[in-house]
């Protein structure tokens, strides 16, 4: 048992009164009953709730409601975060209801879906919330029975006093417990005593999902609500010149058409603000189809903008970002990237004397890898509900970064932070796209103008052509071998439009005596941002494919080659800033080797291997495939993962399977290209996503069992499978797949 100081304070109680009365998504009106809690498992709803702390309340009948603080984007935190609280509370999971918490930074830390950090960062806080509530219930029972609290034990929501034979359900003392002070320190369970964490629990929204109950932002409705859509410039590099709404306004159901301006002139955007299209035309009407069809009748003139600079408040302080004028094209990007890669880059890390080693090498292997822009395409298009009045703003919908967008909204609407009320709905995916909440500002400004509640809806075309894309990437890798085929130097030069993907201190840095990492970037006016495992989603493919080629040139088994490098990095690391744990890295490679039968069972198989470390977790994959160049069939994918303690194993497997399918899909088919600033793809007839027939026939997932506190899982299983796939494709076809998408889109001919 561990004793920790609690960080919950009185404030948690006072502010938490905001949460009482099941007070989420109150505005759902006719949808309210369906939306607020996960109550669908036949639990009886209590007559009265007692708020123990901001994370949980207990009913007189012992049913517990646990708040899930972070946005749910499909990563299943709405189940796994409450599981952690329930574990320390020591309650029967069958008696737990879950509610999505609204944004409330006074109670909850880091209400963000990003960086694979929800569980990792909240692990201590969630445990503490459960443990301190348990302690308060024990204190209340001790008082009631007039016995020392040390003699009280709990099990599955029941308090016991062994000596007197007394027992009471949590519900019976909840009212008294709610009056007690928060304990200064609490005991946390030993990991070996976990009963909920480490067991598979079903998605708390599962029943609602399969019966089509309202859950998503797009499903939200309120009496008197209008529907809004935006019209944005057709190309990056363009801005609004003028518009004529005469025709649109004559269309049935159309209420208003006007211009909105996303930022005030003196506003300094933060990282989650998007500056590509800041002046838009809004069309507001009664129903979705009326607005959607009227959109075509808007007459708009666009004009190219001139170069400008914008001051952005970034993670590392303010940054002056150059936005070049021009209507860019993919052909031009590719030519610029090739030219930039031929020049020296900015040196990001240098160990030993790489230049000399390359000069002395008996053999130099040099390869170039590229990947195109990608659009996020979450299944639920961007949307948001806003109801803005003179002194208050309510925003309800799918957002990954509510804490940050609250600041943007407060600045733009001229309201204090506490007057911005943000409620998060379940998200139909996000993959990073919903970190950039310009659509919330748009919805708020439209509601403010029309003085009515409004739901803003993007079409799929809006979503793809107004993207915050994964950048286009380029990498040059070089390896120097001596005359005995030893690896003596390693060089990576990475670039991209408008940023590169380099992680200079990651493997194989630390494993090679002579190492050089360089970077470059090409300015662009195309908006980019985080997409599932940013940077890593390219590095893993390029680096792991290159290592496969190097191993082949050295005449080594690709797994043994990686293990040898990691042995070196562990025993005698080069440099000091290596940001991975070589033993854990090797651990997942060994696990995937054993589980896939790599040593005994590889004959006659087209298999490829890859491993990668990102977001604090380690993942290795083996991919087996059959078929040929035009029609590869992925038979099986093995995954070995070290993400520390796994909270909800079956859900973790589900997410891993999804990341593997996503990785295969994006690397095989994903690409967004540009002509004259305009995306060439705008819906699923031209932007190709992986489908049922293309998914792997089988996926087998293994977790390393350890007692390390949980680390990320939303992103880490995504990057390495692409490298393993490229290496398996080589085995099947004899061709190296260095440029994504691996399979040219069937849409092109």
């Amino acid at each position: 048992m561990t004793i920790v100081k609690t960080e919950l304070n009185r404030r948690s109680f006072i502010k938490s009164s905001l949460l009482t009365g099941g007070g989420l998504l109150i505005g759902f009106n006719w949808l309210a009953a369906a939306c607020s809690t996960s109550a669908s498992k036949g639990q009886s709803i209590p007559d009265e709730w007692f708020e123990i702390n901001g994370y949980l309340k207990i009913g007189e009948n012992g049913v517990v409601t646990i708040m899930s603080p972070n946005p749910e984007i499909g990563q299943n935190v709405k189940t796994s975060m409450p599981m952690i609280v329930a574990e320390e509370l020591d309650v029967d999971w069958k008696n737990v209801l879950v509610e999505q918490a609204p944004l409330n930074t006074a109670i909850f830390n880091r209400q963000l879906a990003g960086g694979s950090d929800s569980i990792k960062q909240s692990w201590p806080g969630l445990r503490m919330a459960g443990a301190s509530a348990r302690k308060m219930l024990m204190d209340a029972a001790a008082k009631k029975w007039n016995v020392p609290v040390e003699e009280i034990t709990t099990e599955l929501g029941i308090l016991y006093h062994k000596n007197s034979g007394k027992k009471a359900g949590y519900g019976e003392v909840a009212s008294a417990a709610a009056q007690l002070p928060v304990p200064k320190e609490v005991e946390l369970k030993d990991l070996k005593d976990f009963k909920i964490i480490g067991t598979s629990k079903k998605n708390v929204d599962g029943h609602k999902i399969v019966t089509g109950q309202p859950l998503f932002g797009l499903d939200y409705k309120k009496e008197g609500m209008l529907i809004a859509m935006i019209v944005h410039p057709p190309a990056f590099g363009m801005k609004l010149k003028s518009f004529d709404a005469t025709d649109v306004k004559t269309k049935p159901g159309i209420k208003d058409v006007f211009q909105i301006k996303i930022f005030n002139d003196d506003y300094k955007p933060q990282w989650c603000d998007t500056t590509s299209f800041t002046e838009l035309v809004a069309i507001v009407g009664n129903s979705t189809w009326e607005v959607m069809s009227a959109k075509a009748y808007l007459k708009v003139e666009w004009e190219p903008f001139a170069d400008y600079k914008i001051a952005m408040a970034g993670w590392g302080g303010d940054q002056l970002v150059n936005v070049p004028a021009g209507l860019e094209s993919t052909a031009e990007h590719n030519a610029k990237m090739t030219a930039a890669s031929a020049k020296p880059g900015k040196i990001e890390r240098r160990d030993g004397n790489p230049e000399e080693a390359f000069k002395e090498a008996a053999k130099v292997i040099e390869r170039t890898y590229t990947a195109p822009f990608l659009a996020h395409t979450p299944m639920e298009p961007m949307n948001f509900f806003a109801d803005v009045t003179a002194d208050n703003a309510v925003l309800i919908g799918p957002i990954q970064s509510p804490e940050y967008m609250e600041k943007t909204l407060a600045a733009r609407l001229g309201l204090p932070l506490e007057k911005i009320d943000i409620q998060m709905t379940r998200m139909g995916g996000g993959f990073g796209r919903r970190l950039y909440g310009h659509f919330m500002v748009e919805a708020a400004l439209i509601s403010q103008k029309v003085k009515a509640p409004v739901k803003l809806i993007y079409t799929r075309e809006d979503e793809i052509t107004f993207g915050i894309y994964r950048p286009a990437y380029h990498a040059l890798y070089r390896a120097a071998l001596d005359d005995k085929n030893n690896l003596i130097a390693f060089h990576v030069k990475m670039g991209g439009v408008p940023e590169n993907a380099l992680h200079a201190n990651r493997f194989p840095a630390g494993a090679v005596d002579n190492y050089l990492a360089e970077s470059w970037a090409i300015e662009s006016n195309i908006s980019v941002g985080a997409m599932r495992a940013p940077g890593s989603n390219f590095n893993a493919v390029a680096e792991q494919s290159f290592l496969d080629e190097v191993a082949e040139a050295m005449g080594k088994d690709p797994i043994q080659f990686r293990l040898d490098l990691l042995k070196r990095a562990k025993e005698n690391p080069v440099g000091e800033k290596n940001d991975y744990d070589a033993a854990r890295y090797a651990g997942v490679i060994e696990l995937v080797r054993d589980k896939s039968g790599w040593e005994k069972d590889s004959a006659g198989k087209n298999r490829g291997v890859a491993a990668y470390f990102c977001h604090s977790s380690y993942v290795a994959n083996v991919v087996d495939l059959t078929g040929d160049k035009d029609n590869p069939v992925i038979q099986k994918v093995y995954a070995a993962i070290d993400c520390g303690i796994v909270v909800n194993p079956d859900a973790a497997i589900n997410m891993t399977e999804g990341a593997i399918v996503d990785g295969i899909g994006q690397s095989m088919y994903g690409q967004l290209t540009f002509s004259k600033g305009q995306p060439d793809q705008d819906n699923f007839d031209s932007y190709r996503l992986i489908r049922h027939t293309e998914a792997p026939k089988e996926i087998e997932v293994h977790f390393v069992q350890n007692e390390i506190h949980p680390t990320g899982l939303g992103e880490p299983p995504y990057p390495p499978v692409m490298g393993a796939l490229a290496n398996a494709l080589y085995k099947a076809t004899g061709d190296r797949y260095r440029h994504q998408p691996f399979i040219k889109n069937s849409f092109e001919s």
């Binding site: 949808l31 399969v210 797009l218 499903d219 069809s293 639920e380 399977e657 819906n683 996926i699």
Partner: protein, 151 residues
Amino acid sequence: MAIFKLKVNRKEYQVDVDPSTPMLWVLRDHLNLVGTKFGCGMAQCGACTIHLDGIAVRSCITFVDSVGDKEITTIEGLSENGDHPLQQAWIEHDVPQCGYCQSGQIMNAAALLKANPHPTDEEIESAMNGNICRCGTYTRIKAAIKTAANS
């Protein structure tokens, strides 16, 4: 605008909408049946799948004036108590990630099983190929359909 009489999930409704309105928006905006989802609006993703007389169609391109007296079934009406064998299998396999595509997947799978109660893996894959799951739950969807087919 025109008045249309519709039979949805065994209930009669009347709506006054433009004849070119897709059933997707009639269901979502006018009948408050929001289980049918909008994903692409052009018959590419399957999120909007409903049944017309038991046949799976994409409601985003099924215009209200083309429905006539055909019976419409949406995810909300697939079963009385949310216990269609597919819905149960979906829970058993804990299929959803974000969940957004799943009502369309289930409706498409329901039409498949009606026409072909014991499909092979290949038949499942090709019948389901028009339904995108951006979260990549394809292997679980297939497993759940097989479980439902065997129940």
